[in-house]
Subunit: 289 residues, 2 copies
Amino acid sequence: MIITIIGLGLIGGSLAKDLRANGFATELLGVDANPNHQQTALELGLVDDCPPLEHACMKADIVVLTVPVNAILSLLPAILTYVRSTAVIVDMGSTKEEIANEIRGHKARKQVVLAHPMAGTEFSGPTAAINNLFHGKAAIIADQHDSSPEAVQLVERLFKSLFMRIIHMEAKEHDVHAAYVSHISHISSYVLSLTVLEKEKSEQNIFNLASGGFTSTVRLAKSSPTMWRDVFMQNADNVLDVLDSYLEKMQEFRTLIAEGKFEEVHRLMEEANEISKILTKNKRLQLHS
Amino acid sequence: MIITIIGLGLIGGSLAKDLRANGFATELLGVDANPNHQQTALELGLVDDCPPLEHACMKADIVVLTVPVNAILSLLPAILTYVRSTAVIVDMGSTKEEIANEIRGHKARKQVVLAHPMAGTEFSGPTAAINNLFHGKAAIIADQHDSSPEAVQLVERLFKSLFMRIIHMEAKEHDVHAAYVSHISHISSYVLSLTVLEKEKSEQNIFNLASGGFTSTVRLAKSSPTMWRDVFMQNADNVLDVLDSYLEKMQEFRTLIAEGKFEEVHRLMEEANEISKILTKNKRLQLHS
């Protein structure tokens, strides 16, 4: 199977590594707007060749889109004109609704599968690619009724070859859920980083003290601004809803502390502890996938 | 050296494990208000015996306090009357100023060293105790001028035996820094958990999608409410300052998204990326300690 990966970053590169290792891909073609990324991907052996976009699409059995979601919007129409009528195109962006709208009614719509593998790290670029990034994680396929059954089946085979759990949902529903379990985590990390960096200007040694707790809550603040700008743009309405809910609870926490109501603070934290049950359940799902 | 550990939880238990393994302690006595914790600590071999508080203090060369910070406030005066005049008492609470105030001018003040090992996990109780929890981490000693040089020296030896980096600062300064690099991380995790749990009530399958990013930002929401209630109570002023700064930046993020100013959102995230340089520097410090 010839697989063309458009976007040779963390996700595209990690996908290339695994699909080559497990034999799903017999040939891997890569395209990236950044010539340095193409060069690095070739040097690392992530892909076999980096032909021009049109050529890479024409040759492919599957075209995978792993670029920032605004680039997906702008590239998809051209890609649909380049690919063979038997090829399958799968986008792996972190938002789904605008992408679904962009290609609604397109004559090649049935060849496209909208997906989102819920996996990643805070690093970016082809050097960030790692093996087994997707193992046990959830792969969402959105609006499957708008894709041909054969296309969906092929993409499911691809995800299963990576040991992913497949979940079907509507694009709209995906975007709400992603705002809660992913997008807000990134914003809270970015904001934590900004808060502490501002203080650090006047307090040089504050970071000598950073422990594991700080490191893990601020980890996502290292993530790619371009990727996340696009996500927040396309999913602005849902992100604003979650932000409002988050800000309200943070304000409640603040008021309780300011008013000295520490038993109520205690109660809120006990409520928050409930997350551990759910994360354990989630971990079990991953282990048994 | 006979070491008495008051508070057989994550910190006290982990300390017991390492101080026995590295030979610093020849005998370990434990005290915990919860008889089940005492029983578990004995079964796990964390401590050799759990005598009554008075007896455990009288026998000790070093008394270590690893209970929630309000319990430190209430226990310290009694402990100071129980210990021998050659014993050293070290408190390991996450706040320092109120504890310093509590014993200011006490006739045994010089026997007390105020410390804070910047290490932990989100788990609690004696079963959470692990080896090497403190390795490479910062150990703060506060207000050392109020302790005898011999007492400070002994506590430094204890921390160095765990491969910790020792940092001296004033209690007041400690509490400001801890609010930034530790306390706010916990609040942001608790609030993230509450936000997502509320949504989950109506959306049962939202957690099927949780990925590594969510898991790491919400990890601290599993932490002990009692420990953190006490910390937020004692460090309320600094915590409120950090919260206000955090809320302001979160609000700025929200406004920029609502107004569609995504290039400014991009710029904020680029600023936030700077945290990676500092965390790398911090990691290097840990590796070379």
